[in-house]
Symmetry: C2
Subunit: 165 residues, 2 copies
Amino acid sequence: MSELNLEAAACACAAEIMGTLPLIMRTIGAEMHRRHGTELSAPQFHALRVIEKHEGASLSFLARHLASGLPSASKLVDGLVDRSLVARVTAPADRRRVLLSLTPPGRAMLEAFHQEAVTYLSTHLESLTDEEQHAILRAMSILRRRFALNGDMGCPGAPQQGATA
Amino acid sequence: MSELNLEAAACACAAEIMGTLPLIMRTIGAEMHRRHGTELSAPQFHALRVIEKHEGASLSFLARHLASGLPSASKLVDGLVDRSLVARVTAPADRRRVLLSLTPPGRAMLEAFHQEAVTYLSTHLESLTDEEQHAILRAMSILRRRFALNGDMGCPGAPQQGATA
DNA sequence: TATTGTTATACTCTATAACTATA
DNA sequence: TATAGTTATAGAGTATAACAATA
């Protein structure tokens, strides 16, 4: 019965997560949208974050991290390149591939939006006790380890070689 | 300096949340999409959850909870009504308004998807220790209180009366 | 006149399929 | 032949503006 209890506890955890995370994400999204309109959509913000963390990422790599298809990622990048937020150049070593990187304006906009979201979020957390804040930090640390993308889903630019197998 | 530290701690919390929550949400979304394709999109799932929790909600109420405009909500509901997942009837007391409710198939589909998401999530949490699971439960409880919609954003069907002012 | 909701139109995001270019 | 990416086309979601119906 201890295994059964473990599973029940995991499900209880999962249900709480399903009841809480979407609420927080919508709260942040709504506030950012209220302040900046359609200046930077959630997919665009996400794409910038991936490219920032993986400078020189290929389009396939981005698509995997976006959990979307190549055409979607390609079109998304089109818009970011048109607005000079992302640079897209052909890879010298393999001219089929592209290398993505942030332009200085792209980096600046990403940093500004991220900082603004963090600051907004923190207004909801300031009145918490030290102990409560530490509980959140600890939970985030546990969750991040559990949900971290396995092996970074391949090198930023390298072709896929059975990452899931 | 203690106030400064409190603010810094809140920002650190916020940054961890920004680094963790989107990752989890994308993981769930990608898995659900992998299993069910476009059978039920995230906005549709969210709309069903709001209507389930607030039977008889008006379109305005739904739009507020979706953090979207009335036309978006109207079109979203169009699709759900066309698929017989949601019932939309004119309110007898005020014929300008509509009352939204789940149909039995709508309720069944929502329950199935929610249960599946919870079960999938729980597979990531089963191997955690009791203490780690409790840390997550506690953090979710704290966060949910902080981000709960104030006063439910008005009664489900009632007109807005300066909720933000 | 104010409020609820819909329709018209446009843009972003995503998906599938067909295509190009490179390896 | 296989892989990386783009283009073509279609559908969902959202926004603004204009409109209809009701209060």
